[in-house]
Symmetry: D2
Subunit: 106 residues, 4 copies
């Protein structure tokens, strides 16, 4: 299944359950933060995580992200590429190579 | 640009800056949670958010999610579809239609 | 200044600015998560953090936690001690000594 | 029990279980973010939360915050008051009364 088909399947899952009424942008933002916390829990006491748990938690975060994009009519590829364009300016290769310094301290 | 091409561009961005050394799965999990917090900040005092800020923050979360998948060798479509399979069992349409109840209380 | 006096000062700060209208329990929960993300950012790429930044971000999380307790009429010492009581049962010393295993796997 | 006595009890709980080895500042920062996510989950689909769940989740966040302060040798009242001092300068009453605007946009 392609990424586009997967996104359609996600929209259909929500639609069939009539969950659109709960999925306000604000509730989706909360949901993304909640799932990001569960993803982080895989690494709470160790830098190693169980692969199967990691896959599920990462999928949960991405699933809500996709729904946030759909709800707001955002094109996922467009917002990703627009942000990479900005990051290329904020983090020019010659300045940021091999350092994790934040752009406002470069 | 397709989603697959966008993912390649993300990998290249990190590679050119030699940032792979910082992008351990654990650090990426932290980064996803940090960016999810910034996305949530768009809704801190209101259920309305500025569209442009929202696009950028959502892109940041997704960008790190894509890198987490790449770092661990996960196929994004596969983990998303595997999780939807599970959710279809946890949330059968007839039980979950129109209710936001968590599966363990259904 | 004692902890109790500090809590009074926090309540007064909000009251003077008429911010009570924004500080619904839900908005405070979002604020705690947002500030927890900023605290985590101190450790995004390293296990060492700058002490001054850490102090400020930790204070921000605690400040909103105190406001959440005040808003809901919770006694902070009471809810902390009630939870420690529960944790003592979930994590008996003989079972949990020296291991970071979660209670449901002990 | 006073707040100070509660903090001593928290330190003793960790010490008895020899959990200090897991409680690096970085792991505590992750734990605070994880618990903040669980607190937020009380409000995932609604602005109303169950009081008993809320008390427990809030206590979990505060418990790890107290441990973070202890681990780093921070005085909780001092860091809280130092931050309120700063916030009083960032948010003067006359400018911020009745508005939720962030200080950098005031």
């Amino acid at each position: 299944m392609t990424f586009e088909e997967t996104c359609v399947r996600i929209a259909k899952f929500t639609e069939e359950r009539e969950w659109d009424q709960f999925h306000s942008p604000e509730n989706l933002a909360k949901s993304i933060a909640i799932e990001a916390g569960e993803l982080l829990e895989c690494f709470q006491w160790s830098s190693d995580a169980d692969d199967e748990e990691l896959k599920e938690e990462l999928a949960d975060v991405m699933n809500y992200c996709i729904q946030m994009a759909q709800k707001n009519g955002f094109d996922i590829c467009e917002i990703l590429n627009d942000k990479i364009d900005k990051n290329e300016k904020k983090y020019p290769v010659e300045k940021s190579k091999g350092v994790s310094t934040k752009y406002n301290r470069l």
